[in-house]
Symmetry: C2
Amino acid sequence: MSVLVVGSVALDSVETPFGKADEVLGGSANYFSASASHQTRVQLVGVVGSDYPMEKLEPLKARGIDFAGLEQMAGESFRWRGRYRHDLNSAETLETRLGVFSHFKPKIPAQFTDAEFVFLANIDPRLQLEVLKQVKKPRLVACDTMNFWIESRRPDLLELLKHVDLITLNDGEARQLTECANLVQAARWIMDKGPRTVLIKKGEHGAFMFNKDEIFYAPAYPLESVFDPTGAGDSFAGGFMGWLARTGDLSEANMRRAVIVGSAMGSFVVEGFSITRLLEVTRADIDRRVADFHRLVSFEKALDA
Amino acid sequence: MSVLVVGSVALDSVETPFGKADEVLGGSANYFSASASHQTRVQLVGVVGSDYPMEKLEPLKARGIDFAGLEQMAGESFRWRGRYRHDLNSAETLETRLGVFSHFKPKIPAQFTDAEFVFLANIDPRLQLEVLKQVKKPRLVACDTMNFWIESRRPDLLELLKHVDLITLNDGEARQLTECANLVQAARWIMDKGPRTVLIKKGEHGAFMFNKDEIFYAPAYPLESVFDPTGAGDSFAGGFMGWLARTGDLSEANMRRAVIVGSAMGSFVVEGFSITRLLEVTRADIDRRVADFHRLVSFEKALDA
């Protein structure tokens, strides 16, 4: 099965202690798609300006990503400029120019409307709700969000929660949304509002999946060098959703595997600028990293000594 | 085999958002011992003042902790007063009165000098080195340290590293000691200085064990409510060392189990003030939490879909 993603298609300019990149592919939908494309076909819905370097999307098309839902409008593309300091923990935004993205009204092409796996990347919850009106009967709808929408669009976000099966957000956002400092309590609060699954991302500290009564924890891979953290969350989501769409299996055991595939993709993307590493890695690389994750956390519980 | 611990025996007064406790058992050696006593016999070396409520140590003696190395000196006992705010992430020290602890010169009783497992809790590295001169031929020596010693006793700490098999420290301390932001690089730096095992504790974000070429990661247990974080690190160390001493097995597989036993003890101690929970929990509780940890991180890596 394929996966539908609705999100931003941007141009990023990033500085890290290890180098800089100008006007490279960015945006949640690009990261998500490049990551998910290792598992399954991807349908992308987004908007770019007349200045977007469309030829740079060719490698993504070659990977089976369908851009039929990418609208090109007169005007400037969404641009983000940011910098990471030595600890790489948080991006400092130097400039955001929304351009045509500020007029984004997602239109789902007819051939995408029977999507079974839908990822509503981090956009205005009102638009996320609009997307849901256009898809027929998805098996799994997941959404992302951010502090800005939690503050400015709280009622819409709460309405959205009634209609999604899963939400991904980071620990700070989970605390902000729920006003619970404790993440177990925060996850429970969110599940009470609708989603049966809550994925809380903690950056370099890994991710929790709360799925009904189960809690699963996946560490971030302990990389010896992180090059550029941009896009880690969306690449995580792409690996996760891609794996679920590929297998069509929503059991707890398979969702755990999906979290690990997501974590693997998140660990790859930060090894280079933009989506570079996502285009380079192979199925064998992904399998190897999944095995590394297994080794990282495995222990025998037999305690009879 | 038993385990020898040298550290502080204190009286703590703690305030958390959930309550307060006055003049309760505290100090690294108390936490370590109460935790380790679930696995094996413990020999404790420390110092208290003439005002220490010795009767409060009875429950620890009943658990097989040998206080023959606890010196009682004229003067005041070590007292710490601290407060945790809502997020419980860091203690705010309101008062530290070292009392007789500032004159602590650890003397290892003759019957403790053939200790095979030795834990040098967080004290002046010069004293930690003095202890090592007094023990004959330990199989495993582990030490803890803190920011204060990293700053003020760096040469002594580096000398100590040559003589210990294992060091436990938190992520901030590892970064401070090594001047590496990346924890994998930091662990390698430390291993180059002597220890073959580095345990990096990340509080609510779990712990890494770097053991020769292996990396093992254990999450902190996702508790719904943390009552008082004091002593989590020492209880972790007590569970870890206690398990190793009990089994006498220093294989990678068994050290991983030891990390999980330590994590279980760390997760119990924060459920109450002081060592209360460490005295309450049973072997069955520990086994159950170890099983919960196993469930928390387990996934099947089979990726053929």
